[in-house]
Symmetry: C2
Subunit: 318 residues, 2 copies
């Protein structure tokens, strides 16, 4: 199978590329390296079945050229900086919504008929139902990131109806694991490396969040590709547990052998638009026989080990 | 109150402008006249409190300049051509989603804090619940028009959370009445004027649709502006009845005194992405004391009378 992976040099993308190559696929990595890392492709680049296109999704000629002959697109490229959306309000719209439109137009031009899209649990805003199912009450968006992703979902679904594209939409919780380059484990580890005696926590630390290990995420993604036959299939992707930010910080501190004073910025949200509780109902994807292999605690610790063993990652964004 | 009405030269917009001027507001009409009609502003333009800006929403300098000092924005400008979305797939995205982003940025730049947005029952795709309430299960989009409007809703809601803008989102059924310039009454009347003996019907004619008279629509809009205090208020706007396309054609034929042979293009949808059943639960807006004054039949007939008395409207788009 010929697969185009957008954001293929990123955290989840590069892990997927390695998996697809192991499965015998021919893979085109499409990445603008704005956050993707060339080093994440060190192994993939040794394979003849791996092709790299360094270009932006808004560059339509490059995109259309890369699309020719592809059978499946896995669209992972995105602005994933949820927290700072309000500082550059056009960024989520451009990189997540408009970029998805360009991708769909390239698929249409080239006759590529299948897409997997990485959406997010953030599309649920601040839901009233927990765990939150895929068909929960139509939510009110609370972040530009969530808004840009539900907009991209809408475009993909409308293209499915209009142009016969088959779509798998995966609404992820936060993903952890090898090649993780931003998020709360990164932030806490960076802060504690700089000062093991004091640590700042955004909000009151009681935000409840769900996380999933990247290997489990990819198992689910590949299972969905194998099983889903509907024109549009939507799956939540998470674990059947959650933890608080304070819990996770505790695991990180114990692993590092530090005991910092905790300073809270206060409030039940870490930032404007942060959802204080994310916990997804994953019954649908579990019905395909998938289940996560790591607990949240194990995933946090494995991520920390990866960061400890990869000082260059910490320096990239220090 | 100083009000900016985007699409203020259009069908609903120009009716609103007249009402706002009657209520003593200072009104800025912002319209690019792509479908708006100068003649719809003949009355408004005689009033000192009416200002006209002929410009596009994608023209940020003109938009920002027009926004200065405005207290309320009523955002009605849109590509409302639901049926031909697939022929120009970027049009809904640009004119409905990206244009709304420009508008929100202009509001932010100028400190304008209130917006009323004309969304659509099309955001529900093909719902499973009838009448469909505002908090129905998160729908799958089936048209680029619906996708572009739910995307705009998401942007507006995220701006509300992020920047303190108060938003009223109104999900309209199809609106009928004076200054109506496109839709099924227009199409049937045009066809029957050309040939009273034969008429083509898109689909099987059994599509069930709900409609609302423009005067009732504006009563509801103004009631919502008066009453809504939440950061984001969402209201369906429709009537508590529906009719089939065949019903409506029957009323039109009876009024015209014609009895054409009916030719159906077939299928339960009029076009790809058409929703075969639109019927909204309007309990929320009714709880504010509003109710429609005209039945669907009365609204269809009043629209027909308007078109019969306004041959220039028929010629605009013949």
């Amino acid at each position: 199978m010929k697969v185009l992976v957008t954001g293929g040099a990123g955290f989840i993308g590069s892990n997927l590329v390695d998996r697809l190559l192991d499965h015998g696929a021919t893979v085109t990595v499409y990445d603008n390296f704005s956050t993707g890392q060339p080093a994440f492709l060190d192994k993939a680049r040794t394979r003849a079945a791996c092709h790299l296109v360094e270009a932006d999704l808004l560059d339509r000629p490059s995109l259309t050229s890369a699309m020719r002959g592809q059978e499946l697109v896995v669209h992972l490229a995105a602005n994933a900086d949820v927290r700072h959306g309000l500082e550059l309000p056009h960024r989520d719209l451009e990189q997540n919504t408009i970029a998805t439109h360009h991708l769909l137009e390239a698929m249409r031009a080239c006759g590529t008929r299948r897409i997997v899209f990485s959406s997010t649990g953030s599309v649920y805003g601040e839901p009233a139902v927990f765990p939150t199912p895929e068909d929960c009450p139509l939510p009110i968006q609370t972040s530009l990131y969530g808004a840009s992703k539900i907009a991209a979902e809408g475009l993909i679904s409308a293209y499915s109806t209009g142009f016969g594209i088959q779509a798998i939409i995966l609404r992820f919780v936060s993903i952890l694991g090898e090649r993780y380059t931003h998020g709360h484990v990164f932030d806490f580890y960076r802060k504690l490396r700089a000062n093991p005696d004091d640590v700042e926590i955004l909000g009151d630390g009681n935000q409840r969040k769900s996380y999933l290990y990247v290997g489990d995420c990819l198992d689910a993604l590949l299972r969905a590709v194998e099983c889903a036959t509907a024109p549009v299939s939507i799956f939540n992707l998470g674990s059947d547990e959650y933890c608080t930010v304070n819990d996770s910080l505790g695991w990180i501190c114990a692993a590092l052998g530090v005991n910092p004073r905790r300073h809270f910025t206060g409030g039940e949200r870490g930032w404007v638009g942060d959802s204080p509780f994310i916990f997804l109902d994953c019954t649908r994807i579990r019905a395909l026989g998938w289940r996560p292999t790591l607990t949240i605690r194990e995933a946090v610790l494995r991520t920390l080990e990866y960061l400890q063993a990869s000082p260059w990652v910490m320096e990239q964004r220090a």
